[in-house]
Each structure stands twice: as structure tokens, then as C-alpha cells.
Homo-oligomer: 300 residues x 2
Amino acid sequence: MNDKNWIAVDWGTSHLRVWAVDGARVRAAAQSDQGMGVLARSDFEGALLALVADWLPPGQVTQVIACGMVGSRQGWVEAPYRALPCVPLAGGLVPAPTQDPRLSVHVVPGLKQAQPANVMRGEETQIAGFLARHPGWDGVLCLPGTHSKWVHLSAGEVVSFQTFLTGEVFALLATQSVLRHSVSGWDAAGFKAGLTQGFERPDRLMGRLFPLRAEALLGGLDPGVARARLSGLLIGAELAVARPYWLGQRVAIIGARDLAGLYLQALAEVEMPATQVDATEMTLAGLDAARALRHVPTEP
Amino acid sequence: MNDKNWIAVDWGTSHLRVWAVDGARVRAAAQSDQGMGVLARSDFEGALLALVADWLPPGQVTQVIACGMVGSRQGWVEAPYRALPCVPLAGGLVPAPTQDPRLSVHVVPGLKQAQPANVMRGEETQIAGFLARHPGWDGVLCLPGTHSKWVHLSAGEVVSFQTFLTGEVFALLATQSVLRHSVSGWDAAGFKAGLTQGFERPDRLMGRLFPLRAEALLGGLDPGVARARLSGLLIGAELAVARPYWLGQRVAIIGARDLAGLYLQALAEVEMPATQVDATEMTLAGLDAARALRHVPTEP
């Protein structure tokens, strides 16, 4: 067993990302489109080896720590959700079955909330990474993405969270709906205008979509303004619904740089200062923290 | 010119529907998927002839009256929008260029509203049909569909209207988003529950989508309940935004039977009685009314 060199894996529905790590230093990275969504259970080991085989010294066992949809019922091995409230890496890791003797693979379980019903897979690892980097931090984390999440942390535990389809709805409207003919590019003032409308009157959101098309047809609305306004409307409405999470709290945003920047700007517009940290760094820090748990027996 | 036998055409983005009409009696009907969206300008005449050639007596000119996206900039001929307020069939029809000497084709123009920007193509014909059947009717028309419309009618004129992407958003969420794994079938109580939530708190709509997935994963939410609740949430939110249209008004719903029935039920839940009429009948009645305008010169 080589404990210094290990492999970090973020395995989502549509993507697989891997890193060769030496202690806490990343030596190499790779990725593919072999997400959970396109793999049968027996395909996972091969999809992983396709990216990491060259990183495995012969005659040694290399530890692999994986988070994300790889642990879902349709994944490599089901890592049952842990129930809130709990620390983000609760109850130990779940070993995945392997053929290659060079591999020892463990999967991080997701978290579940009973009421209102909610689940996460992958974000718990970013939260653990954030807490590893900011010990004792209390407050609210915002994790924007396809499905953005707002997470209330207290005393190292995840207390509650809420999920929004904002990223997915934006992508569907911008690329598949009638609005697709009128949106492309970006305009900062358009984003701000949409944000204000979406935040102040989230109840009117559904009435503000078609006008993006009609204004383009009748008034030549700039497609960059239209696309940014659509994004602002949706993020503004999300902020309005999530207000009980962030109001009066310390807020940190964990996300890819551009998207996290939009949420940072959105929160600034409602006079909520927030800090921004990189999602990939938090994933790696969280997987590193999970490594320490790999010998704890699982409690399904 | 044979004035008794004519052809009615409803030509949308994705479908072409045609009827052979004798006076006001439908003798035959046909349809295809040759919607405006898949046709170049030079393809329209052929797509029409593919359905109606057998209905055209040799040596005679048969009148064809068409409404819908066939009159858009990407259609057979552009029939520029008429500006509100106006009667639904304002400003005469626009002739489409034809090769076949048996065809005389005219297109109904759509309507536009300057502020807030809005457009319609096809619904103006249904509105004209409704007014032909209900002379002197004042009130509000609801036209549910992919893009549902609420239309304020007064003294025979369209005064204002609002458009919602409700049908399109429902279809995208139910078939393309992460919710697709959790929604199928229908449950009447689920629709009613979603309707109440959507209508009373439209501002929370964006927070109520992901729970449909999470409840399925954690609590085994019935997929029929989930799909009907999603529909109820969206229609309820639409009703909330459209309240200035229907509150205290006489309301009629023009739509396909099942969908119009949902809107009828939704309005009943908020104690707004409404009447329901069939969309295809109104389209045919409106095209029949448009026939009388075909010799009026166009005013672009």
C-alpha cells in the first residue's frame, strides 16, 4: 500500500475527472465524458483505468477516493445517503468492487434531508474540503451549478440545504425553447436588470420569459442582453426563495469561477457580501479529508 | 373561382393541418409534420400540395386561407404583425406566391403589442372565430398551449395580451431535465395540490422543482403525482401572474379539450367560472371569417 500517492475522482452524471495526487500536491489530471449516466455497473472500473492506468505502479495498491453520482444506485457501488444533521463526511466510505489488484476504490456517500426532501452527491465532499480549509466556520455555503445548493453549516455539521434547478432551467430555456432564437452572448447591464426583476418580483418570473422573444422580434433586443437578463431573472428568483438561508448569515460561494462570480455579484446587489472559493480545490481538499476515513467500517 | 369550396390551413412551427371546407362544412381533413420550422420558403407550396392536391378540381382556382407561423419572416410569405388595439383580423390578408394555377393562397397576419412587447400568430384567428360565434362578447380569452395566451377583448377589439411559456417549460422539465426520471402518468389530487402551491406562492416556484426528484428518491413519490403536481405548479403560477387579466372578468378558454379542461379546473379552484370552447372549431370559424377579407388590399 502506497499511502502518499493516491488518486482523487470526481465522477458526475456526465463527466469523469481524475487527479494523481502526491500527498496534497496534484501531479497530473485527466478527464473524460464517461459519466455515470452512460455507464453500466460493470463499466466503471474500465472507464477509470482508461484514464489512470499509467499512474498505477506495478505491484502496489493505489488508493482511489471518489465522490459524486458514482455512488448512486445506478453507479459503481451504492453508497447510501447519510441523514442530516451530520458532518459532511458521515459514516465512512463504501468500497467499490475491483478486478485490477493495483486498485483500492472507496466512494463518498451523499447526504439526504427528510423534510423538505432533498439529496446531494458530490457537494458533501466540497463542503468537507471547505471545512478542512476553514476549521470552525459557521454560516451558509452557496454551490451554484446545474443544480445549485444552499447549505446551512453549524458546528461542523450540515444542518439543512435547499436545491434549485436554476442552471438546468437556464440551459433548457436558452438552448431548447423558443427563446433560443433570441439569446446569445452576454451583457453585464442586462444581467443586473434581470437580477433586480427576478429578485424583487419572483412571483412574476413566468410572465417575463416570452417577452425576451417578443422584444427581439419587435424591438431588436440585443441577444446578449436577452441571455444575460434570462440568467439574471432566474438567479434573482433563486436568491429570493433562498433568502431564509443567506439573510444575516456569513456566506461563501463554492463554484466554477465565472458562475460563482455571477452569484457573488448577485449577492452584492442585495447587499450581502460573500467570499468565493474554487470548486475543484474544495473537491480535492474534501477527497483528501475523506482519505482519512477509508478504514472506518461502513454503516449502511 | 369556386367560392363555395375552399381550404382552411393552420400552419404552425411543427405541424401543418388542412381541411377541405364546403361553405362552413368540413368535408375532409389531413395533417403532416411539415411545419414552418422545417421548411425553406420554396418548400411551402409543395408541402401544402402534398396534402391537398386531390381536393383541387382541375381548371378551377381554389381559395386557401392560412394562419399561424406560415406568415412569419421565415414562413411562406411575411404577413407583418398588426398593432394593438385592433380587431383580430386587422388590415386584410397577405397573398402568398404560388406556381400551381389551381391555388390562391392568403395568409392571416399576426398581432403585436408594443408595451410590454408581445406577439401572436394563429391565436388572432381563433379569437376572430370566437367573436364570429359570440358577437358582441366582451371579456378575457385564455388560450392554453405550448405558449399560452391571455387576451383582453373589448368592443370586438384585442386590447392587450400576455404570453406564458407554461406548456413549453412543462415539456422541457418533464422530458429533458433531471425530473424526467420521476414523472409519468397523472394524478388528479397531485394536480390540485400543485395548483394551490403554485397559485398561492408563485414566488417559490423555483424552489419546488427539485423536491419532485428528491421525494421520489427518498420517499417513493408516485410518478403520476409528481407529473401532475409539476403541471399544477406551473399553471398555478401562470394564473397568479395573469390575475389582472381574469379577476372580475368574463373568461372563456379556447383550447384542446384536455388542456383546456385543466385550465377550467384551475380557474374553478380560484372561484373563477369560465366557459370552454374547442380550439380547432374556433380556428375554422376564424379562417372562414378571414375569407371575407381576402380582397381587401394589405396595409403593411
